[in-house]
Symmetry: C2
Subunit: 142 residues, 2 copies
Amino acid sequence: MPAGSTYKTKQRDIILKYFEKKPGVHITAADVYEHLKSKGESIGQATVYRQLEKLVDDGLLNKYIMDASAPACFEYIGMSAHKSGKTCFHCKCEKCGKLIHLQCDELNEIGHHLLSDHGFKLNPLRTVFYGVCEECCEKDEL
Amino acid sequence: MPAGSTYKTKQRDIILKYFEKKPGVHITAADVYEHLKSKGESIGQATVYRQLEKLVDDGLLNKYIMDASAPACFEYIGMSAHKSGKTCFHCKCEKCGKLIHLQCDELNEIGHHLLSDHGFKLNPLRTVFYGVCEECCEKDEL
DNA sequence: CTAAGTGCAAAATGTTTGCATACTT
DNA sequence: AAGTATGCAAACATTTTGCACTTAG
């Protein structure tokens, strides 16, 4: 459902370029806005938000909402996930907030399982596993 | 880490009772507030938010943030999830927004896998799978 | 020339907070 | 009595929207 074609604008390029330089890093809309402003490539916030949304739709960025009343985070995933058959899953630690990237074949199986047994076509890019990371687990046990 | 004891107040009971009547249903803070107001058991919104937060901390409710700029949803899980070993997973359709509840042993395995192979202790209650549901998949293929 | 994108400021929304009062233990 | 909770209104922060203008296809 292409809601309409996407124009290639200067602003889109600038934003995308910023993300490409930081693969796997979480960046908020405000980060983008501030960074570009300080770099003399100012873009209106509305545009930042609108482009971010589009980039997510286009599958170039991922959006993570950790907590209400906290800005959403965006992360570049670009072509990597599309090209290689290898899907990257994300785990977010509820304690320390760390984001872990996993690339694991066994996890891919859940995608297949969900599809074949539940008719649900998983989007691994948008799915985040919440839980507690190794380090924080150990801390808890002390 | 009990940040302090929790008093048993009238408001807490009212809110909890409302959720107990709707297990597995997603309810927003506004829903709670409006429902109680219409029922003549008005509770201030601040209190609603504060109690909701506490109930989540106490493990009685679950909080889901689907989308920024959309209210967070709360769901009663009460003792059920704790008692039965059966964990309920959630799938959110990116197209129609539908939320699907799954209770599936195979999905539980991913929890074990994440823990044993990646040292990550999954919290199934806070994890939401994003993707496209059966119905919307079919629509796409037309 | 039309559709899409931009920028600004203003609005909207969901959530949080300050503070005086009231309730629990 | 001390520690929490409540309620109201005001404050907040992030995100969205209206509109006139510019740019891409």
